[in-house]
Symmetry: C2
Subunit: 430 residues, 2 copies
């Protein structure tokens, strides 16, 4: 006989945890009607006594009361971080409990080990909430696109930085002012480093790469750059040229080569990704059967993540009641090689700050030419011999290492007054 009741325990009653519990309770009857499975929240733990108050009837005194509870089938870990979370998740799996988590830092660091352990114990790990909030990108890559060779994944994966970039664009304010507003509205952590420096986007694109190609890289192995150096000036020059600037996590595969990089990126205004504003997220995927596809949704906030956590809990419950185990392996089909970032080719936006006198453009163009970098368009706005003026340039595809060398040489020219701004550009997406 199939089991028709599933018991879960929840560790962590913060923004996501509390929304998850509330809404699972509200939807319990509906889910039971849909699936024939009654999902009960047996125990809830949070080290903060205040957070547990709304759920005191089912509060646990310690995480062990959940992790070691013989009646609990699924442990939902929503505390974040990589210390306690790692310990709780590991122990839960060892105790043959499936786990649902929204913890991208944990999975990008310990994913390989945790998934291996889960398979040994015949339990499942659900992690839809770890990437792009409510967007079902994990399930789509794992299940819906299983017939595809995926060639590109590009994501706006961090709500905080996307919000700041939108504010900078629409209000013509600078980065610091944008960050200040994000903090005031609760869209940024007290310490925004993980967001603005690109770590968070990095963790998420690494998870997407892992489930797609079976390779879990470390953030130290890839190039990443945040948005804290982005100037409003460049956002508006880009706009004049028909582009928006977004922080993208990028993963591309060609034969056995994979490239992964995270940086602010110019996107044509006609591309759907460029219309993603505020704290929203979006993921663009290319595959041999699906062609070009895009998922858009709320990337931040307790409700969006709670939606994904509920979906994971229901999915795993369905599998558990079937009293069996289906494998779910992340397969490295061919031996995939990470392309060194120096070898990556892309288009570029440069802003040179140069003295406005004859021959400057020729000097810049000469060095670019010598490094196989060809120019696709130039704007030189002002005509003011007294001071340095910005020269904006878009290039055709060029190699990262050639750009590095060329710009280093250009910056040494005596007509160049400040280090050149380099922003990468993606196109031909849709």
């Amino acid at each position: 006989m199939n089991k028709k009741f599933i018991n879960i325990g929840v560790i962590g009653c913060g923004t996501v945890g509390s929304k998850f519990i509330e809404n699972l309770i509200i939807r319990k009857k509906f889910i039971a009607e849909k699936t024939g499975i009654e999902i009960n929240i047996l125990k809830v733990f949070d080290k903060d006594k205040d957070k547990i108050i709304p759920f005191k009837d089912i509060s646990a005194k310690s995480p062990e009361e959940i992790i070691e509870n013989k009646d609990i089938d699924i442990v939902v870990e929503l505390i974040g971080g990589t210390d306690y979370a790692y310990e709780f998740v590991t122990k839960s799996i060892e105790n043959r409990k499936s786990v649902v988590t929204a913890n991208k830092a944990l999975l990008s660091k310990y994913g390989k080990e945790l998934f291996k352990k889960a398979k040994e114990k015949n339990v499942y790990i659900g992690f839809e909430g770890s990437v792009a909030g409510a967007i079902p990108i994990i399930k789509s890559l794992k299940e819906s696109f299983i017939g595809n060779k995926i060639t590109k994944i590009l994501g706006i994966l961090n709500g905080t930085t996307n919000f700041i970039l939108s504010e900078m664009y629409y209000k013509r304010i600078n980065f610091d002012e944008g960050l200040e507003i994000a903090k005031k509205l609760g869209y940024s952590e007290a310490d925004p480093t993980l967001d603005i420096k690109g770590y968070d986007t990095g963790h998420k694109i690494l998870i997407l790469t892992y489930i797609t190609y079976g390779v879990l890289l470390s953030i130290d192995e890839i190039f990443f750059e945040g948005i804290d150096k982005i100037e409003t000036l460049d956002i508006h020059f880009a706009s004049e040229l028909g582009y928006r600037i977004k922080l993208l996590g990028i993963c591309k595969k060609e034969k056995e080569n994979i490239e992964i990089h995270i940086h602010p990126t110019l996107l044509p205004k006609t591309h759907l990704l460029s219309l993603v504003e505020g704290v929203n997220n979006a993921v663009y995927v290319e595959g041999d059967l699906i062609g070009k596809s895009l998922f858009y949704g709320e990337g931040a906030g307790g409700k969006a993540a709670a939606s994904s956590v509920i979906s994971d809990v229901v999915d795993i419950s369905r599998k558990i009641v079937l009293n069996g185990y289906v494998e779910e392996n992340f397969i490295n089909e061919k031996k995939i090689i990470l392309k060194p970032f120096d070898e990556v080719e892309t288009r570029y936006y440069f802003r040179f700050t140069a003295i406005d006198k004859p021959g400057v453009l020729a000097k810049i163009a000469k060095i670019l030419g010598e490094n196989n970098i060809s120019i696709s368009s130039v704007i030189q706005k002002q005509d003011n011999p007294q001071k340095a003026v910005p020269i904006i340039m878009l290039t055709h595809k060029a190699k990262e290492k050639n750009v590095k060398k060329a710009i280093s040489n250009i910056n040494k020219l005596d007509v160049i007054k400040s280090p050149t701004i380099i922003i990468r550009l993606e196109e031909n997406l849709m």
Copy 2:
């Protein structure tokens, strides 16, 4: 012991069928590594002998050879239509085989009966390919968004009509010319009626409504209007006002009231749906937890649908090897009532063709006012007393029955020279 081999039979080797078979064979090893399940295509049938040639090693002499085959676990029906398809699907289910189909006409007509029968026999029906090609909208609504109360579904669900509207917009050609190009490029059936009149969009929105709210309505119960009456003029007036015109399937729910309608619709150019061009599809979904979300992808073509069919086959295979059965019911939570179209409220675009003389606008405005229709903007371009001129008007929200009455009265005015063009408008989506 779990079964680790799944055998399937395929009926129909047309555009979708052949791409499905080819790609499932290519991906067989990969899928086996991912899931631990080897999926074998045991038999293939098509009444057209030419289509079966590439698969002659596994060709069946009759559909019965598949439907009655004791070794076959899943029957993949890809012949389309509602006659033979209904017979084959019904018999397959009766023989305790799960079914995968991309047949929206079949499901929108017989869905209720087929899903009931499948449940009785403890088998599954996969139908991701029936709506929006490669876009995983069925799975997302059924599984990923299970924790949500869904309040709105808006879809660009028909590639042919979206292609024609894009051509009309960019090339400034008329509907007939657009249809001609669609036919030449193979984007339109020989008889395009189902597409251009809105039936196909209707079938698809009805399926989405069914899986979301548990109510399967018939296309005769809802309002639908195609794009064959759309004039290039209106596409460009709309554009001047900041809107694009798209054929939308619309389903909204408020308390126990549901409204479903299909018609050309003005969408703000800042909305992601308005950027969906050519044969692409997109579905916009709102829910209480997910907020606002959007899925974009290729809506037409064999490869896109094959991607969804493969995903269904793998999903069902996973369930079958577990040797159990999980229910999947489409639940009508409250007793849902279809709101009569007359009671639906929306914004409107009107184009009046009026004689250009003093007092015309006052006459029109008076009738609108009497019917509780308030104007949000007006364009009257030309100033030519000799002939009739277009007056373009956008309204605030108004009731369909009031609009019907007002426009009927306005059309009777002697200053009005042609029947007024009415196009609906959606906003506040994102």
